[in-house]
Symmetry: none
Subunit: 213 residues, 4 copies
């Protein structure tokens, strides 16, 4: 019985995820407004009414999708953090930077979803929760950066004059903008080299952080 219940719970969780993934695919492809609950059910391979067994409504499903995304990002950020070997501050920044780049590169098709999320922070009923979640996410990733830079300052590698707290949000946000611009260039001829931009920017930042001789 215990097993059975566990399986049921597992299956329920599985179906919930099924729906979330179907929603993510369609929200990314057509946008939230133009995706109907019927579309999502079809994509998930279930009946129209079934969706409502797992989510109260379209808004809540959207929010669940958002939460899935935030969790995913936090996991990605945490993972990268633990991978940081005891190298120089510059190296750490490069590794971290690269790891973010990797996770960006794997999910191009979901990028429009992030735009939907941003837009929703303005108009959704979950607006406050979403704002907070985004803020927290940025803070969490930013804190990693702050730690790296502080360490670098202590080690006499980075310049103590830098106003870390102010500058970090800008650095963290670069990833967003790179994804955004990659998206704007997607499908056009004049390609945007995400990787090159990322690396050059990282170099520039490091040059700016380093203590002047």
């Amino acid at each position: 019985m215990g097993r059975k219940n566990k399986n049921m719970a597992f299956n329920q969780e599985k179906k919930k995820d099924q729906i979330i993934f179907a929603a993510m695919i369609l929200f990314a492809k057509k946008g939230f407004a133009k995706t109907s609950m019927a579309d999502i059910a079809k994509e998930a391979g279930i009946g129209k009414g079934t969706t409502y067994e797992y989510f109260k409504g379209k808004d809540q499903l959207f929010f669940a999708t958002f939460q899935w995304f935030v969790d995913h990002c936090e996991k990605a950020a945490t993972l990268s953090f633990t991978e940081l070997a005891p190298k120089s501050g510059a190296e750490k920044i490069r590794v971290f930077s690269q790891s973010i780049l990797n996770s960006l590169k794997g999910s191009e098709e979901f990028y429009p979803l992030v735009l939907e999320f941003w837009a929703a922070t303005a108009s959704s009923r979950y607006r406050d929760k979403m704002k907070k979640a985004f803020k927290d996410l940025y803070k969490r990733i930013g804190d990693v950066f702050v730690a790296i830079i502080n360490e670098g300052i202590e080690n006499n590698e980075f310049d103590p004059e830098i106003d870390i707290d102010s500058v970090v949000p800008a650095i963290v946000g670069v990833w967003d903008t790179i994804g955004l611009q990659a998206w704007f260039h997607d499908g056009s001829n004049d390609e945007f080299n995400m990787e090159k931009t990322m690396l050059s920017f990282t170099d520039l930042i490091i040059r700016g952080l380093l203590k002047k001789q």
Copy 2:
């Protein structure tokens, strides 16, 4: 008669703008999807049907607001450019940066509109036009920056090793990102100091660009 026609044309332009402004206000406040054509007409102080005399439909009106926004941005960018006095490259960057900051600070309430534009870029029927417009806008602003930096390199102020073309999109995008994060913090207690972040970031960039002794 000539005058009359001219007046009519003028009035039409005026009414068109009236509608665009009304749309912008509401799109920013409630989002595109949740704003009805009736709402817009009401806000513009005209009849529901009149909107269709000036715009083919909601999508086109949305696109018109987008175009208005892009034009506005381009004008702002151009304006700043002409204001650049013959100072050092670092000074120019600071002036340019400040001018962007000023235009950001003046239009907080319209910031969600940009989010709508970004989101629409993914799902709108005008998706390709919008992508292109955004790309062009970034390019145009970027070009100003590229020019400044190139000039700085020629003047032996900035380091020629910098891969300018790759790094500029990231720098330009950061301004968006700062606006975005300011928006996420809006309404919460832990305020985000847009100005400080912007200035610190500009400093960092300049430090990175400067030729090492």
Copy 3:
């Protein structure tokens, strides 16, 4: 212009009534729950969406139907009252009674609607308003009766021992009950003679009211 506006108002009022009548017919025939807004629009000969130009929703339309009914009843009661000639109390009661009977007889097909109203009084969101309206309606009709009886007592025709205020609600209610039972018998073989029942009952009441010699 005044005329035009007036006409428009008139037409709107007319369309509102059109919808109310269509709703009444269908609510009476199929009940509130089984009548769809589409049914009503069709019956009224208008588009589905048009209904919502005149009524906020199905519930409000139902309530409007109820209000129409209450107004109609009050008018009927008032009318009868003014028709009462300066006859004996017994005669007045007979006239009043007959007038109620007449209005009952003319609207058999709408009788189920009253049942819907009663039922809705329990479960509708307008429950309190409906309760009050019914109470007021009964009171208003009852008051006519109270006046007649009081006059009869003053004229030494009716027995002063009668507890008028207590008994009148019962008498007034009997008319409902007669309609109800007529409805139960409708369509069956063993006909229910509403008229005879009404008259016999009226006689009985009068016998009870009259002063004993």
Copy 4:
């Protein structure tokens, strides 16, 4: 084995009643339309699907509650009848009257259910069965009254001129109307005194029935 079967039958009967009671409570509280099968199952403390082991569907369950109600009423009426001592006709009417009043007073919360039943006689698929059941119920109760009055006429207590068959339905119906009006007044300040109205009306009727000296 026989016992076991009997127990199962007994349990089935018990569960059937459980469901019926649950349905009655909810139909009375929220109305038929607003009560879901899931609500009923929950209230009955059983699974959603189980209801369908005992009743074919929502309509049939509703009809079962109706039948339960009718049986209950008939039992109540029969009971009162046997309690009638060999008193005067007037006394019998008073006793009967009081006994109905008692059963009314004990079941205020279920009164809306009767309204649902009435409404359903118009729109339910069981409409004809329900009409007949109501007719029979009224007839059965009426017959008791007819018997009492006939006896009274034979005993020279009541006036032979009374058209008994016509007048009895009106008298019987009074109980409905008293319940109805009590329901309309429920929750308001200007209380309706059910008992007083009932007694005064009974008095009036008896005065009307009594032979004039």
